[in-house]
């Protein structure tokens, strides 16, 4: 379980969080949604240690995030935008990640096989299309059998087949007991597999609960309509 307590963060004059409290259940897919500048990516990056909090505590499966790096060995991270080094191949990067992890782990490349990356995995990333680079981004995130997956707009730039394969893999990971925290602006996509919705607005939790509960709460037929109602202020916000 991810627990966040009293999290505060300010970038200059912009206050992103002022005492955020949130918990994300283990073994479920939690869709992190909200308007632009709600703090979604900042929260993900804080969990990864990329951004330091001004105050507050975060813990993953009981391990307090105190600035050390070892806890990240159980995390698979797929950033929204990756401008990979042009002269490296996907395999070069993978080998670097293996070296970072002590050289003991044999990476799981089943996603690369599913994407049929083949020789593209060994070609310089600078000559690959954006979609292929995004596939490699996904392969790297899933390669070390993570217990926690943090995915920031994972299907952006993927063709429908690759997006479908990736979503199937996310579902398989959930069945394996992996906790998944995912942001996406494609709400129907989240609706397919998100157990929980965590709606952030202006740095606070405006709604958290099951996707079905959000639909019922807003009187909407689909999750997309429910989110639209939340965004437009047409439904009272509350933490479920």
């Amino acid at each position: 379980m991810i627990t966040v307590h009293g999290l505060a963060k300010r970038f200059g004059r912009v206050e992103v969080f002022a005492g955020l409290d949130v918990s994300v259940p283990t073994g479920q897919v939690t869709g992190l949604i909200g308007p632009n500048s709600a703090g979604k990516t900042t929260l993900l990056k804080m969990l990864l240690g990329l951004i330091a909090p001004d105050a507050g505590q975060m813990a993953i499966d009981g391990t307090l995030l105190d600035g050390s790096s070892g806890y990240r060995s159980v995390i698979g991270y797929m950033p929204q935008i990756v401008r990979f080094p042009a002269y490296q191949s996907g395999r070069d990067l993978l080998e670097t990640l293996v070296a970072i992890r002590g050289g003991r782990e044999t990476p799981d490349l089943s996603l690369a096989e599913a994407f049929e990356l083949g020789a593209q995995f060994d070609r310089p990333l600078g000559v690959l299309s954006g979609g292929t680079r995004q596939k490699i981004n996904a392969v790297l995130a899933f390669a070390f059998r993570p217990r926690l997956l943090i995915l920031d707009e994972p299907t952006a730039g993927l063709d429908p087949l690759a997006a479908s394969l990736l979503k199937a893999r996310i579902v398989a990971e959930r069945q394996r007991g992996t906790t998944v925290l995912i942001t996406s602006h494609v709400i129907p996509e989240l609706e397919q597999f998100a157990d929980q919705i965590l709606f952030l607005d202006q740095g606070r939790v405006a709604w958290q609960g099951e996707a079905d509960a959000l639909r019922r709460h807003t009187g909407s037929g689909t999750l997309e309509q429910a989110v639209a109602r939340l965004l437009s202020g047409g439904a009272a916000l509350e933490v479920a």
Binding site: L50, Q88, L93, T96, I100, I150
Partner: protein
């Protein structure tokens, strides 16, 4: 260590992209070759190379370093999301950015002398000292580039700051020294001039190479004040210590900036 070397290799391969380093080495080698042909070998050629190296080294270190840090921003985030302490990642990225540049500059300076078999001839020791100084100045300028790139998020602004730092240190410094000397003309000028000397690593490197040599005319105002105040031996010791601090402090600052940076 293996991990640091792997990260170094990753950064070094990126540093070689665009062939900038090869172009830099070839340019320095061609200049060295022309100087050897027209000015003959020996100390005179090395001193001419010194002036060129003091312009080129900080410019290359600051500009290429700043560009490289910004260019590697996203992949740095990806690597930082792995179980690796920031200090180790910094070491790999900084060494990978700095060592290829230092090697390119050293190779460009040495190549014509090696080609003509003049490395052990007159001026050989001065050339080796010059190369050592260029390597140290590469470390300094590359560390400062990391500081600039990590503290200024906007790529264009960061590049502007890097070029401004280079301009002040490599081009405008003599003018600043002159202004200070004029301001303190009716008082004791030694202390402010010596302070100015230690504040600029390029000046420190230049004076350290020249003080006590036959080329006292090239010492400049700050070097002349140092030689007059402290003498050649004590002056050398002070400058060597200063250059050591100039190597360590920017590196410490860069590492600290990397450790505290929100990515």
């Amino acid at each position: 260590m293996r991990l640091t070397l792997r990260l170094l290799r990753l950064a070094a391969r990126e540093a070689m992209r665009g062939r900038w380093l090869i172009a830099l080495a070839v340019t320095l080698a061609v200049i060295g070759e022309l100087l050897l042909r027209f000015a003959g070998g020996g100390v005179t050629t090395v001193l001419s190379l010194l002036d060129i190296a003091l312009i080129v080294t900080p410019l290359a270190g600051l500009v290429l370093g700043t560009i490289q840090v910004h260019h590697a921003r996203e992949v740095t985030e990806l690597l930082l999301a792995q179980p690796i302490p920031r200090g180790r990642l910094f070491a790999g990225l900084w060494l990978g950015s700095t060592l290829p540049l230092a090697a390119a500059l050293a190779a460009g300076l040495l190549a014509p002398f090696v080609w003509h078999g003049m490395l052990l001839g007159p001026g050989g020791i001065q050339l080796i000292a010059l190369v050592a100084m260029v390597v140290l100045l590469t470390l300094v300028s590359s560390a400062l580039a990391f500081v600039i790139a990590l503290r200024v998020d906007d790529r264009v602004r960061a590049l502007g700051v890097a070029i401004a730092v280079w301009f002040v240190a490599a081009i405008a410094w003599d003018g600043i020294v002159l202004v200070v000397a004029l301001v303190f003309a009716d008082r004791s000028v030694e202390l402010p001039v010596l302070l100015l000397l230690v504040l600029n690593p390029l000046d420190v490197a230049r004076v350290l190479l020249l003080v006590g040599s036959d080329a006292a005319a090239m010492l400049g105002y700050t070097g002349a004040v140092l030689a007059k105040t402290l003498g050649a031996t004590a002056g050398r010791a002070v400058l060597a210590l200063t250059l050591l601090l100039w190597t360590v402090l920017p590196l410490w600052w860069a590492r600290r900036s990397f450790a505290r940076k929100d990515f």
